[in-house]
């Protein structure tokens, strides 16, 4: 076994230290050492996007990044989105627009959509489909995912959004 390396980074704004073999992939460190199981392992071949995390302001697939590459970086996962029992606008959008069925792809979808909306606050449907193309969903046919991201984009821009979900009041401000 190769010598282990100490790696320090910030996970959802909290400093963390881990001891890993150089070959350890970020997704395994997150899930197995840091109890952060929101990012999922789908294909493990950088196709499906279920393991998407935000790494220092860019979207990456955590199955194709080594943990040792993350020294001193900021890692954001789905666990970092809800604050004080209140959902993030994207989580609210996926709830309102039924942007999921089985939910397996959802953490990666939302984490990727977060970065997309940071870069393009007012995306067209075409923009959303192009910039979300690294995330696969086998349930929804994507229609409601697009609507969920449009909902979140509008809310984050400060526009009024219509909610009809019966439980929405409990999870939003």
């Amino acid at each position: 076994m190769a010598k282990k390396t100490a790696v320090s980074f910030r996970l959802n704004q909290t400093p963390v230290d881990v001891l890993v073999e150089p070959r350890e992939l970020l997704i395994h460190t997150l899930r197995e050492k840091l109890a952060t199981t929101g990012p999922h392992i789908g294909c493990e071949t950088s196709h499906c996007g279920a393991c998407t995390v935000d790494l220092d302001g860019i979207s990456v697939k955590a199955c194709t990044v080594l943990t040792v590459q993350c020294e001193d970086l900021d890692v954001l996962t789905i666990e970092g989105f809800a604050k004080g029992g209140q959902l993030h606008a994207l989580q609210e959008g996926f709830m309102q627009e039924h942007g999921l069925q089985c939910g397996f792809c959802t953490p990666g979808m939302i984490t990727r959509a977060y970065r997309l909306l940071q870069e393009i606050p007012d995306p067209t449907e075409e923009d959303i489909r192009y910039w979300m193309s690294g995330n696969l969903c086998r349930c929804t046919g994507y229609q409601n995912i697009v609507k969920a991201i449009q909902y979140a984009a509008a809310k984050l821009r400060g526009e009024a959004v219509a909610t009809s979900h019966p439980l929405m009041e409990e999870v939003t401000v």
Binding site: A2, T5, P22, E44, Q69, R112, S133, G134
Partner: protein, 288 residues
């Protein structure tokens, strides 16, 4: 899927990276964006004992211009290329190509230098490098040498780069004013390699083809130039007959390998179609 164990090195300067390569020789591999190498390591197709990550060498990343020459650091990501206003203005072909590579997350990590140096005929930049007449800067223990793209691609996964060399920069002369270009890529889905793709750089004078270069992706053991098609177009008006002939000549020059994307005949035909499509679009973008 976990790679074989290896020792990880993250040098912060080019000389430090070269020193590591000199020390470890064939036991080492260079890690650029990692989106070809890490998957190969996970599948155990590659098992380097030493991995030398170039990600911490800041001078390897960036895009600038010196006169008419555009200089791109080898560790510049596809994401940086897609977002570059300098490239959008002076070398839109590279932006159009990068937009068609993989998906946003892969482009966050994948680099132009890695794409070129990997020597995979399915990668998109090699054909574009050929069409643009790019020069590749390679640095080793003995110093720097500059290799034209036309002499770089030797075979599948085989390039002119020596085991103790690092590609540091890609240099491309801005195409003359009025030139039009296009990268036309046929792929089955997002994230797939090209079934066939064509890069065209074209300049017209008085309605006739004054200069043209055509590079082809994934239809031979390396990226190739479609030289017969280029020769047939020179001096001609680009009417339907000329474009169709160029497509036919390009497809005849291909040596595709049959795989899940299609048999040889289909891939040859699609290479011809991509050449026609890229020529028509490049022509529409020519001015003057």
């Amino acid at each position: 899927m976990i790679p074989r164990p290896f020792a990880y090195h993250a040098p912060e300067t080019i000389p430090a990276a070269i020193a590591l390569l000199s020390d470890y020789g064939d036991l080492a591999k260079i890690l650029a964006g990692g989106h070809s190498l890490l998957p190969m390591m996970k599948l155990r197709f590659a098992a380097p004992e030493h991995l030398i990550d170039l990600g911490r060498i800041k001078e390897l990343r960036g895009i600038d211009m010196a006169g008419d020459e555009i200089r791109i650091g080898a560790m510049t990501t596809e994401r940086d290329i897609v977002a570059s206003s300098l490239l959008a203005e002076h070398l839109p072909l590279l932006v159009e190509t990068a937009r068609q590579i993989a998906d946003p997350q892969v482009r966050s990590k994948g680099t132009i230098g890695g794409d070129v140096a990997h020597g995979d005929p399915g990668n998109d930049h090699p054909a574009v490098m050929l069409a643009l007449g790019a020069h590749l800067v390679l640095v080793g223990p003995g110093g720097e040498r500059i290799v034209p793209a036309s002499e770089f691609f030797l075979g599948t996964y085989a390039t002119a780069i020596e085991p103790d060399e690092v590609m540091t920069q890609i240099r491309i002369m801005r195409p003359p004013a009025g030139s039009g270009s296009c990268y036309a890529k046929l792929k089955r889905k997002t994230g797939d390699y090209a079934t066939a793709a064509a890069a065209v750089v074209l300049r017209m004078e008085n309605g006739r083809c004054a200069a043209v270069s055509i590079g082809l992706t994934n239809v031979a053991p390396t990226a190739i130039r479609a030289e017969a098609a280029e020769a047939a177009l020179l001096g001609r008006a680009l009417d339907d007959a000329a474009i169709a002939e160029a497509g036919r000549l390009a497809s005849e020059g291909c040596e595709p390998a049959a795989d899940l994307r299609g048999d040889e005949e289909y891939k040859r035909a699609m290479a011809g179609q991509m050449v026609q499509r890229a020529l028509r679009t490049a022509l529409s973008r020519c001015t003057g």
